[in-house]
Amino acid sequence: MKQTISVLVENRAGVLNRVASLFSRRAFNIDSLAVGVTDDPSLSRMTIIVDNGNNVVEQVEKQLNKLVEVIKVRTLDEGNMIGRELMIIKVSANKNNREHIMTICNICGAKAADISPTSMTLEISDTPDRVDVFEDMMRPFNILEVARTGVIALQKGGGKI
């Protein structure tokens, strides 16, 4: 089962290395890791998706908490969080199938970000499974390139970690 861990860290050089090093050193499996600065410029938020085999999440939390530059760690409740991933996807496209592609984009909530005589670049921001669906729907059009950010997440409601 996948678990989403939200980690507030000092916004400093080397912190990402420490966190990544911890995961490999302790043999924890990372699915994705996304990091960006928060409203407080001295803090970054990392959103880490781990595979909770062997109930490893508790150890992950504890080991993360040991890092001096980690301020707070919270495992988010899957039913009570907003998790989003951004994907940019480039597919082969021409005047014959552009409309077909746009129809799928409209259904999935994706939009065109770039266009050329032989390609279209599309973007979608949604839950990872809906991003997966969109990617699958684009497969028949010959995917040229994909970039995904990994999930970022916050818990629902007025609280903060």
């Binding site: 000092e10 080397g14 150890q59 504890k62 001096v68």
Partner: protein, 543 residues
Amino acid sequence: MEMTGAQILMEGLAREGVEHVFGYAGATICPIADALREDPNLDYTLVRTEQNAGHMASGYARVTGKTGVCIVTSGPGATNLITGVATAYMDSIPMVAITGQVPSNLIGRDIFQEVDITGAVTPFTKHCYLVKDAAQLPVVLKEAFHIASTGRPGPVLIDIPIDVQEQLVHDVIFPEEIRIRGYNPSVRGNDKQIANVAAAIGMAKRPVICAGGGVFLAHAEAELRAFAESTGIPVVTTMMGLSLLPTEHPLNMGMIGAHGNTTANKALVKSDLLIMIGTRVADRAIVSPDEIQKRMANIHIDVDPAEIGKNMQSALPLVGNAKVILRQLMERGAKADCGEWRETLQELRRTNLGRGYPTKEGYVFPGRLLRLLGERLKEDAAVCVDVGQNQIWACKHLRLRGVRFLTSGGLGTMGYAIPCAVGVKTAQPGRQVVAVCGDGSFQMSMNELAAVKAGGFDLKIVLFRNGVLGLVNQIQGKEPYHGPFGVRLDGDPDFAAIAGAYGIPSMTLRDEGKVEETLDGFLAAKGPCLLIAEVSPEWKTTD
């Protein structure tokens, strides 16, 4: 006030109460060397390889309770130090390691003696810094010593480029206190959980205390003894917990684990409540944590919450400093009713301690020698033990009355004993100190005989010579392996001549009948002395 980075470093060390540093010179720490030259308050020991600067700082830290400090150069100096840092990390020894670095504007260009040392040591330091502005040094030093010495102690490395050591800083401010928002180790145990733990102890019929190195780190030796004596609960220890209680203390059932004794292991598996204090359930101590976890309830007291549930789940976790928690438990009046259980174990223990030793013409058995050595040591002596068969024999046979037992328990670093002993002697020159080595481990740091000689230390070194890497030889001699390989120490030197070359006298012992008088002469000798005991390569740690 205008100071260079190197001068700030000296002032910062002085403010942390540092009186001694262990180090090795090199090009990128020349500004620090210059500052050391002019600092009358900081003593310096030159090691012969950087790894041993770490081990000496470790020995120093373990007997003083202060943070050990070592300073080495960039590149190979820093990489040589890595084993010393990793050894300290595994045994949670408070240490600040300072490395020189190439000029900051050249970092990343692979210039002469450049290595990414903070990148290398990240997995086995508690924290590390690469300082790019000397103005940050006062805060970095304050943080480094705070982090190294509080909570679960450990090594912190500070990498300082040579230009930062030379950088002039105006209006230097040394902080009196610092606050690190991501670092707040627990000290006191949760009161409600203290009550639960006290209640569980009260209900137990066959409780046992398993004490580890964390008790020493919390300076809770007296509290552990008082807690055991006031509750009457038998005590077993891990290797790192050896010498918390005298060997023959009525509540001490000895060391547990793969190399432990039968009484201690029986106490562990037959207990109905396991009270672990300052131990991380290492594989050598608790061989099958899954089994133990199923069999009995356990209380796990540790300052590091990540140790609880890492190798074994605990029904009653208690996070905090061992000294504080033991006092809380005693204030709570924790009592156990376990007289019958205690007497059964004590009876078994007496039978165990009364065992005999094998003999062989021309050799002396290390177990017997160590037992007789232990009886002759002053009560406040320190014994620094290396890694290999010598370590296991010492754990099993050395009778400790009040003596401090020091070894590399976690990383199992061969060559630890002599530099550790030099560190102890540096801190406490008047203390009786004995290093115990095998001929394999001795050769990993016999170059530090120079530090022994230079320091004028009356260090006594016992060398068990059997011409083989004995413990690995034992492993290779059993299934699934097919026999020894690469363990015979062909080309071993004449150890007496080696010691002699450093101006250190030696004695050789190959007759069981002469052990006692030789030991008396050895311990009474003025100055350092090497005792070479001839040991049969066939003897095993199980003999």
